[in-house]
Subunit: 884 residues, 2 copies
């Protein structure tokens, strides 16, 4: 084995690593290295690489042999830079130990501050700083944090000790405790550890250090981290780095502070220096949401109507330096920066810099603005917006004119509006959401343990915490509307109630939140559709230039078609005709048709349906004037149309002039053991050709009628579902052609097929002799290729993802190895036969960015998705083209 470099030092205007080395050093380590190279004020430190993490898990949780000396050297180098010694009782070096994966995983990984303190060094620190309170406050914080994170001691015990101490002294705040109190508390903490673990809290600073490093690596496989990776599709193999850095202290009094800043507003994207800080606090206090921080800039403070001074006002010099650094970093990285900083006794230190997380709205605005500012080009701008997140912008906001009853206000932490039942625990949120009901998760503050509940909720509301609190950050990442820091709310989790002034909201009561304005309302408030203009329209315009894939929509009604057009769909890729059969005024005729045992009776019933279907198609053709419409002929098993309840059966029997017994018998006869693999799709068309003939006639007549009104029409595309054999398509196409021959001046049309069975994919070469286009029905193709019924998958697919057997639900993102290979085979063989065969996809995967990339790479002509996903698909298609 060649000697690996496991440890990368930084500080003092230099660094072993650099900003591009995120995969090796993690986002945090790379950012610090880069800042150090730029000569920014970074406390010195070093990063243990992600390769050590990989080695750690590959080798039964052990380290490479040569890691230890490298760390020792690096620690010594920090000491030399800051002029202190690790474990030196006279002049102790304190360090922080933090995790850092290649992407930020907020709240997921554990951090230890003030490491290096023990009985001796704490006393030394007190002497050295002349601030015993600071020294013992730091020590008790360290013991608490280290015990919790590294030693796994329940933190409730420590809180009880703190409570006792405050009670004994008769004070309310920790800041009212003095050095002696804190020293006693530290001793009590250590006694608690001894009691809990049967061994003492480590006094040896090196033992402390290696314990913390191990805890960081260990936390990579914590349940929370695994959940987060799963939600975000990050592979386990990435691993985390560990960054060890000299401590600086924001809690050294009123000239000290700590905070976070964004070079632009992460919620709106506005070009304003944005952030929050807390005076006399350590960094964790800001993120944890325990105290509500102040804005850093005066403008923001004024806008929010805050009374306490902003950093710009309280620490003008440090603020000016911070702002300049922020500007420099943004220009350097050509992206919005999220920085963490500490001011120690007036001096600014940079602790982290990374591309800032942002809402979809902000991502959009920043991308467009930066392009206009000349910072980035259009392709880069397009790649800066996550298509999946774009979905947020397409969701409703509150109708400004709608009546409402406001009950609380907080921070607009994540935009969008949501209505749902108030619930007060993550478990409740998950449970009720699983029943298909909308919930708003209401918490005093959120913690990583709440993530599953936040995921299940339509919106999140917290009583405490700022714009960068856990709730706010996670909600923005998930695209959930969030109001944070609505401090007037009192929540009683046990009773399942919250009180806001005189209002009581009980579990299950409907509330509405406006995550942009930070407002909370009682009951439901009318929503408004999003405006698709401005930056959004600009981005879509650019995307349309960049992409090669066409984007169509799945739309079955005139309304769907209109929405699809509004979102920029370039046609309908899937117009299902079965929904049309369910309309109340038709279902009778449909049922008569199904009940008919003779062809003649069936034809009579179909004759009644013909003008109705014709009307459906006319409306859709008119809405899509000039754009292609692919109409799929009847697909589902006939029994789906039959009445199920006894009273329905009686009603239909009376209307259809048959006996309930006969109707019931027919329903039983049509029942299937596995309807998904049963008598459906083109199989219906083959056993009852008159159904498809009626549909073909309705299509042609509708097209003629619309054309007669002067509307320009693209040639109609008639799509035959569930074809497995060329002979099926031949049989049906010849019947459709025969209908066309019988219609005077029949409009242009083509006949194609869904490719949704493995056999169809394999035999695509011969099927393409007849089929004029293919549309991949990836829902069914996934079901058959994987042998998994979507209706029944809930029983095991979740567990599959949970156990890591499959990376993602294959019904959400296409199984590229299995289903994908069949798509590639079918495309290749189909085009071998028919060079210009049009290829599209119309399963639900058509709106999934990863699947869209796959479709682009596989040479498909278009994707078709639900109307609301069309913009997502347009952007994803552009990104696919740019990344090809």
């Amino acid at each position: 084995m060649t000697a690996n470099k496991w440890v990368y030092s930084f500080g003092n205007g230099a660094a072993d690593g650099e900003g591009s080395m995120k995969n090796l050093l993690g986002g945090k380590g790379a950012g610090l290295a880069e800042m150090s190279r730029l000569g920014l004020p970074v406390p010195p430190g070093f990063t243990i690489t992600t390769e050590v993490c990989t080695h750690y898990y590959a080798n039964a949780q052990t380290y490479p042999a040569d890691l230890k000396p490298a760390v020792e050297t690096a620690v010594a180098a920090i000491g030399k830079t800051v002029g202190a010694g690790f474990g030196d009782a006279k002049n102790p070096l304190l360090v922080s130990v933090r995790s850092g994966a290649r992407v930020s995983m907020p709240g997921m990984m554990d951090t230890v501050l003030n490491l290096g303190l023990n009985t001796a060094t704490t006393e030394g620190l007190a002497k050295l700083t002349g601030d015993a309170r600071f020294a013992y406050d730091s020590y008790r914080r360290f013991i608490h944090m280290y015990s919790d994170v590294v030693l796994g001691v329940d933190h409730a015990g420590f809180e009880a000790i703190m409570d006792d101490a405050r009670d004994t002294k008769g004070v309310e705040l920790d800041t009212e405790l003095d050095a002696e109190d804190l020293k006693i508390i530290a001793e009590q903490f250590k006694a608690r550890v001894q009691e809990e673990l049967g061994r003492p809290f480590p006094e040896d600073v090196n033992e402390q250090l290696w314990g913390a490093v191990g805890a960081v690596f260990g936390s990579w496989n914590s349940h929370r981290a695994i959940t987060y990776r799963k939600l975000n599709n990050f592979p386990e193999e990435w691993g985390t780095a560990v960054t060890v850095q000299a401590m600086v202290f924001g809690n050294r009094g009123e000239t000290s502070a700590t905070g976070v800043a964004f070079t632009r507003d992460p919620a709106t994207g506005e070009k304003i220096f944005y952030g929050e800080f807390l005076i006399n606090a350590q960094g964790e206090d800001v993120v944890a949401g325990i105290r509500t921080p102040q804005p850093i800039s005066k403008a923001v403070r004024e806008r929010q109507g805050g009374r306490r001074p902003s950093m710009e006002e309280a620490m003008p010099q440090a603020y000016a330096e911070l702002k300049a650094i922020g500007d420099r970093l943004e220009a350097h990285h050509r992206d919005m920066q999220d920085v963490e900083f500490t001011v120690q006794e007036g001096k600014l230190y940079m602790l982290q810099a990374r591309a800032g997380k942002r809402t979809a709205e902000a991502a959009l605005r920043i991308a467009i603005d930066m392009e206009k500012e000349g910072l980035i080009d259009r392709d880069t701008a397009l790649l800066r917006v996550d298509p999946a997140a774009l979905d947020q912008l397409l969701h409703p906001t509150l109708d400004p004119d709608a009546p409402r009853t406001q009950i609380a206000a907080g921070l607009g932490a994540s935009p969008g509006a949501a209505t749902g039942e108030a619930v007060f625990t993550a478990e409740e949120a998950e449970k009720i959401a699983a029943e298909g009901r909308a919930v708003i998760l209401v918490r005093t503050e959120t913690s990583p343990e709440d993530i599953h509940g936040m995921h299940a909720a339509k919106g999140i509301l917290t009583a405490r915490g700022g714009m960068t609190s856990h709730a706010a950050v996670v909600a923005r990442g998930m695209g959930r509307p969030c109001v944070s820091g609505a401090g007037m709310m009192k929540i009683d989790v046990t009773k399942g109630e919250m009180f806001v002034g005189s209002t009581t909201v009980k579990r299950g009561d409907i509330i509405t939140i406006d995550g942009a304005a930070g407002l909370v309302f009682l009951g439901a408030v009318k929503m408004r559709q999003p405006e698709l203009t401005g930056d959004f329209a600009t981005l879509m315009e650019w995307a349309d230039v960049a992409r090669r894939l066409k984007v169509r929509a799945n739309a079955d009604t005139e309304t769907d078609a209109a929405t699809a057009r509004k979102f920029g769909a370039e046609g309908i890729g899937l117009c299902r005709t079965e929904h049309m059969f369910f309309e109340p005024d038709r279902i009778l005729a449909v049922r008569q048709m199904i009940l008919a045992e003779e062809k003649e009776a069936r034809e009579a019933a179909l004759a009644k349906l013909l003008p109705m279907q014709c009307g459906d198609f006319e409306a859709i053709f008119a809405a899509m004037a000039g754009y292609p419409v692919t109409i799929r002929l009847l697909d589902p098993p006939l029994h789906e149309f039959l009445p199920q309840k006894e009273e329905e059966i009686a009603e239909v029997a009376a209307a259809a002039g048959t006996s309930p017994a006969k109707l019931r018998a027919r329903a039983i006869a049509l029942h299937e053991a596995n309807p998904m693999l049963g008598h459906r799709g083109c199989r219906l068309g083959i056993t009852y050709p008159e159904i498809y003939e009626m549909q073909a006639r309705a299509i042609f007549e509708a097209a003629l009628a619309v054309a007669a009104r002067g509307v320009k029409l693209a040639p109609v595309e008639i799509m035959i579902p569930l074809v497995g054999f060329k002979s099926e398509l031949d049989f049906l196409k010849s019947r459709i052609d025969a209908v066309a021959v019988g219609i005077r001046g029949c409009p242009a049309y083509s006949v194609g097929t869904m490719i949704e069975l493995p056999r169809a994919a394999l035999r695509a070469g011969e099927i393409a002799v007849t089929a004029e286009f293919f549309s991949f029905g990836t829902n069914d193709l996934t079901q058959t290729t994987l042998g998994v019924s979507r209706d029944d998958a809930a029983g095991f697919l979740g567990e599959y993802v949970g156990k890591g057997l499959i990376p993602r639900d294959p019904f959400v993102s296409i199984d590229q190895d299995g289903v994908g290979e069949l798509i590639r085979i079918a495309s290749e063989r189909g085009r071998m036969t028919r060079k210009n065969l049009k290829l599209g996809i119309c399963g639900e995967h058509g709106g999934d960015p990863a699947s869209i990339k796959f479709c682009h790479d596989s040479g498909l002509d278009y994707v078709s998705c639900s109307p609301f996903r069309v913009p997502v698909a347009r952007l994803a298609a552009a990104q696919a083209a740019l990344r090809k």
Copy 2:
């Protein structure tokens, strides 16, 4: 277009064609050409090739332009040879027009005799022969046959005229009608045609000829012919030839006769000159079964106890010549011959020679005998026996010691015994058989219209007709037991009854037939398993030498395993374990296991099942000592094990100590929309690993126990069902390996997987990293590849075959284009990863000869089928190897 030769003449010791040209001239035409070349007495004639048939259907039912002159020339040549003129009133040439495809399709194609007769030529013939009765009898027969076959006039009208004529004259037999009667009848027949069609019966002999030729080509696409082709998997493209031949007459009096002969007994294979003839009759009389013919040889007559003279006795000279020709033809063709002949006034004419149809028993005996006689080699002998037909020999015969009540006797027309409900129409047979009930089709005589009923019946019983009657020939071809010519039966189709002496058998009464002995019994008679010795054993021995594919059996019990070994299975390819769970003494524990909501409770229930499963496996391992056994772990959805009826639920609830409501709720929770694609197979093993762990433990402990008794064991093969992802197999194999590690002295084993999902086939390369063998589960693979549920396919697959959309039921014979490609892909990719990967098939296709050929060609190592199909598979595997 180059000039094709459309017409091949023969006769007079020469021929344009020869015996090898069956594809072009049809079996009949080629046989006649070959006999002509051999100098045998063949009436001259010519054959219009099958290419004309192809041209006919490809060109809107028209003939090639140059066909007509070629036919005219050929007709003239016949006339020159026999010294007569076509349409010559003084000396008329009469011809027969027959169809002839490359294989014999008995009863399927139409024939016209005596063509060339009209008012003038009949009178000329009467004068020329001095036999007016013969001339007018021939004429009325010609009008009747031609009107029926060519003109499509219902023959009932002609029969009514015949009835009237007999009544008027007060006679019973047609032979009692004289020339004048027949002349009047001929005129009445023509009048009937005029009435029916509105145009006269054709007097022009050329119009007659072309009409007949057209009718032959038209009959190629008759419903009957299509049905027969479908039953026998003959492609439509083959087409039929038309043979036109000078007439000879077996109805010229007592020195004339017609008959058929086989060079060996087609029922038993015995080397005896076998056949039947009728004096003073035309060929159709024999085949139609209207008169019961006599044996041709004295030995057979004596054996059958017949009183009327054999041909050997009645016409010794013609018989001797016929026998010599038969011997010569058999030696020439090295196969048993079936010849048709006519004796006209003492002179023998050969009308047809072909390889004779035979029962499986006869095919076996003839193949073995001919090899011993040195006529053919072993490979040829192996290829002479149809593996599918071999099945007949493996079916039960009547137990000679069983009590029985004989009610009738006839001819043993097709061997084997069958018991079922008596039904009297083909429609009834089909209907009742579709309900899963066994039926015996009882008819006075059968006709091609009855084929679907014969196919549906377990056995066929007729009151009229000989060994070569329609019923006998078709039954042998289908492998159905048949008793023909049981003349004592009177059948009343309308009432649905038959009378035999004093016994009345009503529709639905159970009867049994012995198709070897020709006996009919009332009620069911005990059956006996076939003996697998003698010729059968010899053939199997040869097959085992010739084949490369191993043959295993699908066996779940000790009894199945013993049967499998008896039939020569070389292991078990599929031992399903779910049946074991249904045993009455286990189902309680099984249900407790399913009902358990906690792992611990499930494990407790599984602990009860462990010793039982262990016992199952011990018995199977002992039965298969030394041969490999592949055990498939639990496969079906859990809900299949749950009680369905309320009383069952109550019972189980009481025993399991739970409430019926809870049990019902659990059953509902486990219910699936598409269980075939649901929570089953390895998915159960992943959600409930303890089930598979128990099964693995049972397998290992059973193997150890059996080995401890000194039984040699092949390494056990543990098979994981329904794998789609390598990760599934990894997850489960590691658990099985962990069980093995925990067992002291654990026996050798391998872990493999079913390939039964398209995804598994596509990802075979990576799955083979873990899997040590593959077994293609072609039932499921067919379901998923085609998207067809076997349980629901009845609703449309029959129609698919009926409409010609698919050639065969893909659950019977493997869909080589679709499913087959996946098998080839999986084999190739699997072996790329693991060079010696063992490959087998264990779907029901493993017993289908065409599928076995496919498996051989695809390089599989073995097929596994039901125990009774093992000999079929051994022979099919040998033939596959020989045909490769």
